[in-house]
Subunit: 226 residues, 2 copies
């Protein structure tokens, strides 16, 4: 069967390169992101799918240095809380670099909009599909950034109520990500948490079943009882 | 500044084409998906980022015709429930095509794995980041499918408890998507819900703020009070 809608080979390669060479970046080097590049990355997010076309994503670009520092402190506080909760893996966790908030070129907080209860299409029984949609938007941004040669990290080490208050956002809005963007020395070959031995990559055979759930035998590493 | 990590122009174009020409497809034409193409699409999902590298995604490929029909009936039931909840937009909603479960080549249910409470990294204060990760995986699959010329639709019209029971999945596992994949006559120029007048596209100015939340003036259409 002819695949008349398939992309030509070089464009297809670009899509797969972005998918496989995207990294959750925590190390940045100096240098601003050109405004047109940043706009292309944000616009890529706006082209994401959304449940009932609600487009629940909102972005707050952080430009005040003092505000960025407050956001860093929120993440650092949560990093310590998480470390304490991890028990025997505490020291291993603390050695990992988990944010790039201070050193990246741009910090953008992503929030779900307020008044989301108005949207019922695809959400009556699945209200959390708003988060799913906004996550697709961030993945678009991640892949666009990779194609542009820009690193992006998604930091979720924060208390959402405190971050909401810092941004003076209404109670109905919900912060879901602190995105760090910037130039990089390199994109790692493998995910940092894989290289560091935190966990291992799951293959198709570990996660793909047919017709009914089979508890995967290889689906968990021996390190997952955090 | 040289963008030494940026993709060459044709590969970059591929990434942006996938992002902008991806559609939430509900109309399929006959024809199986080649196994190697389907595998590439699934593997693209497995390359997604995940919080604490937990890789919470699980896939159940539906091959029994009777099971597919039961899944269709679940979606159809929820479609009627949603229509009733929509009030004055009920008829408008019912005219929209909201699934392609019966006619697509492949149905794949995506679930979050069980035992997710074991994972704390990035989830102590933000437990729902597991859904965010799996949504990134689905977006990867969506873009890979587009590059392959394959349409994909994400159906969230279902009761997750009933779908879990159909697949004999454990209580801790959580269905998040019925994915419909198949060949298409065409990819629409614009999202179906935009063409149908359900809602309008939000531009950057509608959703991007600086340093603090500003309630967007253009962020809501006049049709959003569902």
């Amino acid at each position: 069967m002819p695949m008349e809608w398939a992309f030509p080979a070089d464009q297809k390669e670009g899509v797969y390169r972005a998918i496989y060479e995207r990294r959750d970046v925590r190390h940045f080097k100096a240098g601003a992101i050109a405004e047109e590049v940043l706009n292309r990355i944000i616009d890529a997010g706006l082209a994401a799918p959304s449940v009932g076309y609600m487009q629940p994503w909102r972005f707050v670009r952080i430009q005040q240095a003092s505000l960025r520092e407050e956001i860093f402190q929120l993440a650092e506080h949560e990093r310590q809380q998480t470390a304490a909760a991890l028990g025997e893996r505490k020291e291993e966790f603390l050695r990992l670099k988990t944010d790039g908030i201070r050193e990246c070129a741009e910090v953008i907080v992503v929030l779900l909009c307020d008044h989301r209860e108005r949207y019922i299409f695809g959400r009556r029984s699945m209200p959390h599909m708003d988060l799913a949609s906004a996550s697709c938007a961030i993945q678009n941004m991640w892949l666009a950034a990779r194609a542009e040669g820009i690193g992006l990290g998604w930091v979720s080490l924060f208390d959402p109520d405190e971050l909401r208050a810092l941004l003076k956002a209404p109670n109905g809005a919900e912060p879901i990500a602190i995105l760090c963007l910037g130039h990089v020395e390199r994109f790692d070959e493998r995910p940092l948490l894989e290289t560091a031995g935190w966990d291992s990559h799951r293959e198709r055979a570990d996660v793909l079943m047919t017709d009914q759930w089979i508890t995967p035998t290889a689906g968990y590493s021996d390190k997952d009882s955090l």
